[in-house]
């Protein structure tokens, strides 16, 4: 099955069978509030009323003083292979996630004054207030190490304001006036225009002043009142600033010479009836690109994709009916899996990086979470920020690879002991159910190895959360779709496993001519990114990777494994 090749004739059924996407941005899961923990220090600091607690503590210490302690025996992590149910840390520092809440749509930009990337994002909580999604930010020089900036742009404080809640936008530095601008979406479903483009200005990126007068309303230019969001600004071939905005099934375009007054240029279509969000337009080498998130409610959509053309005008024409002019990359411009969404890019002049969020999963336990990928509906909204480096190939097509700083951040080499195996001999796996099980991983891991298959049809996989007693574990399968194509699938394997997980497969690519796969896998808590030979990037959420074993598997044929390395932070 090849799910990345679509035909337009499917659209009617897909739209008819599946509810509209409208309003998905507002969909939230509510869970209970977190209460602050009453620590000893907190109790002691409460003043006069607490002196009794201190006294009690003193007596308690005295009365305990003659007891002898015997430590519990340490768990034998190195010598065992049985399943363990770990939990994620409160915040992630590589695939960034704040300690409380999660990251929504990232808005990266390169701050040339500060010489660093700044990535704004929509701060999402389990319980958002009436006014929600303030812009929070992080800064980084390399896409792997982050400094939190806290809240950058607050929401309104009244539900009567146009920007009661915020939607995606962009930050940009205007060299001409030396000021930073944030253009953002003011979101309020109680008002006639649910989405209006607004702006705030700062001289230092710390103190922001919202413009209380200027607004861009879609209805003033013939666009939809409710879909008019995600403004993105770039400099086009005419030397002017251009702003694209995602409206209902059309991109609106405006231009400006001073980043203050904007003139309507026109519009260009999205792909048939598929809403395309978070547009990002840039030029790289000889090519213009539009990176977007295709927000169609279907198991094959909700992916980050791109269009490419030699000019900006040709780029806009790529979306024209009757046929979208897809990049000639064999998979319609798909950049990653459904576990990577709302991505936008920024460049420091040398590298162009791309950030998207990897959705969190919900469920009663690790196993329920890992297969709850949103096959029947949407993946959960928001998660952890995943950063890739954009790789431009000689024909202009794009793929995603690891940012260089990742390898140096994961610089603590650890041994990759083989704990158990079947059909494994001298580095070669042969026959059905052949596998080699390696020792438990840490919280953040870099796994690398090379696989060579014996012919054009061999299939292999990499399993996680795999204990020697596991009845369910999680495998990224490199599946032969046909002799010359591979697709990365996600499966719940094991005697009680569900098998193929619909809506989590991701990425079709050409079989390497020499049948050699150089694999790099980075994990940070439950976020995992797999790269193959600069031709494939695949992000996935797998809960339970930490403190469990992993394996390389073979399915019937014969594959040879070499250079297995594991390093941690």
């Amino acid at each position: 099955m090849n799910t990345t090749i679509f035909s337009k004739s499917n659209n009617y059924l897909q739209e008819y069978l599946l509810p509209s996407l409208a309003g998905q941005r507002g969909k939230r899961r509510l869970t209970k509030c977190q209460a602050p923990r009453a620590t000893e220090a907190y109790l002691l600091s409460r003043g006069r009323a607490s002196w009794g607690v201190g006294l009690l503590l003193a007596f308690c210490l005295l009365s305990c003083s003659d007891d002898d302690f015997t430590a519990d025996p340490a768990r034998d992590w190195a010598g065992t292979t049985t399943f363990f149910a770990p939990t994620d840390e409160a915040g992630f520092n590589t695939y960034y996630m704040p300690a409380i809440g999660r990251c929504g749509d990232p808005m990266p930009f390169y701050d040339q004054k500060a010489g660093e990337y700044k990535v704004l994002y929509l701060q999402e909580y389990d319980n958002n207030g009436a006014c929600y999604h303030p812009f929070w930010g992080i800064s980084t020089k390399d896409g792997a190490n982050y400094t939190p900036l806290g809240e950058v742009l607050p929401t309104g404080t009244s539900t009567a304001q146009q920007d009661a809640s915020l939607g995606t936008g962009c930050a940009i530095y205007n060299e001409k006036d030396g000021l930073y601008y944030i253009y953002y979406t003011g979101y309020n479903v109680l008002l006639p225009n649910h989405e209006v483009v607004m702006r705030a200005i700062s001289s230092d990126f710390k103190t922001w002043t919202k413009d209380n007068v200027w607004q861009l309303k879609g209805t003033d230019y013939g666009y939809d009142a409710n879909d008019f969001r995600d403004p993105q600004i770039f400099t086009a071939e005419d030397g002017l600033y251009h702003m694209v905005i995602a409206s209902k099934l059309r991109f609106a375009e405006f231009k400006s010479s001073d980043m203050k007054t904007w003139e309507h240029v026109g519009s260009f279509p999205m792909i048939w009836d598929r809403m395309c969000e978070c547009p990002d337009i840039f030029k790289m080498g000889d090519w213009w690109y539009l990176v977007y998130s295709e927000g169609y409610r279907a198991a094959w959509s909700r992916k980050v994709k791109y269009m490419m053309a030699p000019t900006f005008d040709a780029l806009k024409a790529c979306f024209n009916d009757p046929g979208a002019n897809w990049p000639k990359d064999g998979h319609e411009g798909v950049l990653d899996s459904r576990a990577f969404y709302a991505a936008k890019t920024a460049s420091n002049g040398a590298d162009r990086l791309i950030w998207g969020w990897s959705p969190y999963r919900t469920g009663a336990d690790i196993h329920e979470k890992n297969i709850n990928v949103g096959a029947d509906g949407e993946p959960n909204w928001s998660g952890a920020l995943v950063c890739h480096k954009i790789i431009q190939h000689t024909d202009g097509t794009l793929t995603l690879g690891a940012v260089p700083a990742m390898a140096s951040k994961y610089n603590q080499a650890v041994s990759a002991n083989v704990m158990e195996s079947n059909g494994y001999n001298g580095g070669t796996l042969s026959g059905d159910d052949a596998y080699v099980l390696y020792k438990r991983l840490g919280t953040a891991n870099h796994i690398s190895f090379t696989i060579k298959t014996s012919n054009n049809w061999d299939k292999f996989g990499i399993s996680f959360v795999r204990g020697s007693d596991s009845k369910k574990y999680y495998t990224i399968v490199v599946n032969p779709e046909d002799e010359n194509h591979r697709k990365v699938n996600f499966e719940q394997e094991g005697t009680e496993g569900k098998g193929f997980i619909d809506a989590a497969d991701g990425y079709l690519f050409e079989r390497p001519a020499d049948n050699t796969y150089h694999i790099d896998i980075y994990t940070d808590n439950s976020v995992l990114v797999l790269y193959i030979n600069d031709v494939c990037a695949y992000t996935q959420r797998i809960y339970g990777i930490q403190k469990n074993c992993w394996s390389i598997n073979n399915y019937g044929g014969s594959v040879t494994i070499s250079d297995v390395k594991v390093s941690q932070q």
Partner: protein, 465 residues
């Protein structure tokens, strides 16, 4: 042991420390200042300050540009500061917030504007007869059937918030002559002239299950409104009205039923289950038809002929291939949608004066940017299934004439010609025949969609000639 003694020492220190801190409770926080807004005006229009809700409402004339208003007055409590200064310009298309601080205290005040609008929003007589409002001309026209005493009609009027109206809503009024209503709201005032037109004997009816036209679903309402504005002496009546026999139908030439159901009505049994109101009225409708009255039946109403004897005794001649979407998730038309004129029927009156597209044999119905529910009630033609091997077989069994077909040959428009004193019937079951789009895409230009009204006018003229 040394460690344990240290614990004791720390614990005692903690106890002593708590004692020593307990007398020192003076705070540097400045919490005594007020954060009131004492006076506020935008473009010299004074705001009304509500202390309880911390809100300020500035009333403006009915038509007033609010996207850039100047703060002409702003007085706050002594010692307080505000994030917005007097002289600042604000976009008041939505509310703004004044953040007033004084020492460590603050209050947020929500500022909004309210236009002095003086409009009549709806005008319904005796809770049944809905007036057509022309806001530009400030006129309201209400059609009522004969038999209604127009000297004591009771209008229910809704009008702009905060406005006052005379004469009052709910007062029995004599509409023998046009009546003037005056709406006032602060600086705004409007006068509307209400004319009640009594239709003694309607020439045409639009029927439905709703008690009044205003309660029809959006699809039927748009069609009904078009009829009342374009077909002389036409009225809306409910099936209940027909059953009650309160209408004088002696001059009524045609009854139109345009029936939309979200999700569609697929086949005979579903029609029987869902069209109970219509089927309860089938005797009245059959009598009208057998006495020469014509019927125009569109969308799922095309099932009706099988139940009033138009297809002989065979009740199982309803459309056999039906589907439809929900109105609020209707499909976007990327370009014009069309169906085909059946061979040899190009000269039929139904297809005259239509806007032509690329193919003269096609009936173009929608334009790009229109959202269509694609609600279809058609007959599948073919030897594979459905019981109608060919168009000829369909005509033989139903007694109808094919007028229009879909791309696969399905019968989507047809008629049962008038015969033996019975009225004629025209049916359109094509999904392309659609009056209402829940939204229209930016840049939408109506062109081919005008053919829906033209086709309807053609049908009514043909049936009433």
């Amino acid at each position: 042991m040394n460690t344990k003694l240290l614990y004791v020492f720390f614990a005692l220190c903690a106890v002593c420390g708590l004692w020593s801190c307990s007398e020192d409770n003076t705070s540097d926080l400045q919490l005594s200042g007020d954060c009131m807004v004492e006076a506020f005006a935008l473009d010299n229009y004074e705001g009304t300050i509500d202390l309880a809700s911390h809100s300020i409402v500035v009333r403006l004339p009915e038509v007033y540009e609010t996207s850039a208003m100047k703060v002409t007055t702003l007085t706050v409590s002594d010692g307080a500061a505000c994030n917005i200064a007097q002289g600042a310009t604000l976009n008041m298309n939505a509310a703004q917030v004044l953040h007033v601080t004084n020492g460590e205290t603050f209050l947020d005040w929500t500022v909004s504007v309210l236009h002095d609008e003086a409009r009549i929003l709806s005008f319904v007589i005796n809770d049944i007869y809905t007036g057509a409002i022309d806001q530009a001309a400030k006129t309201i026209t209400v059609y009522v059937p004969a038999g209604v005493d127009i000297t004591t009609l009771v209008p229910s009027i809704t009008y702009s918030q905060n406005a006052a109206i005379t004469p009052a809503s709910g007062a029995a009024t004599d509409f023998t002559q046009p009546v003037t209503y005056t709406v006032t709201n602060n600086s705004a005032m409007s006068t509307y002239t209400v004319t009640v037109i009594c239709i003694d004997k309607p020439a045409a009816l639009f029927i439905g299950s709703a008690a009044t036209m205003s309660e029809l679903d959006s699809e039927a309402k748009v069609a009904c409104e078009w009829m009342l504005g374009n077909v002389a002496n036409s009225l809306y009546a409910s099936f209940a009205d027909l059953r009650a026999g309160t209408l004088d139908l002696s001059d009524c030439k045609v009854i139109w039923w345009h029936w939309h159901v979200d999700g569609g009505v697929d086949g005979h049994d579903v029609f029987v289950a869902k069209a109970t109101d219509a089927l309860d009225t089938k005797n009245e409708l059959r009598a009208f038809y057998e006495n020469g009255g014509a019927l125009f039946l569109t969308r799922y109403a095309t099932n009706l002929p099988s139940f009033i004897g138009a297809t002989g005794d065979d009740e199982w001649t309803t459309p056999n291939n039906c589907w439809g979407q929900n109105e609020d998730a209707a499909e976007l038309c990327g370009g014009p949608w069309s169906f085909r004129i059946f061979d040899g029927q190009n000269d039929h009156p139904l297809w005259q004066n239509l806007i032509q597209g690329d193919n003269a044999n096609e009936v173009y119905c929608t334009d790009a940017g229109y959202h269509i529910t694609n609600s279809t009630a058609q007959y599948h033609i073919g030897t594979d299934w459905g019981g109608y091997d060919s168009h000829a077989a369909w005509e033989t069994r139903t007694g109808g004439k094919v007028l229009g077909i879909g791309g696969d040959g399905a019968v989507v428009a047809w008629e049962y010609p008038a015969h033996d004193g019975k009225g004629g019937i025209i049916c359109i079951g094509s999904g392309c025949y659609d009056w209402y789009s829940y939204t229209l895409e930016p840049g939408y230009q109506e062109n081919y969609h005008k053919n829906i009204a033209t086709m309807t006018k053609n049908a009514i003229n043909y049936l009433t000639k």
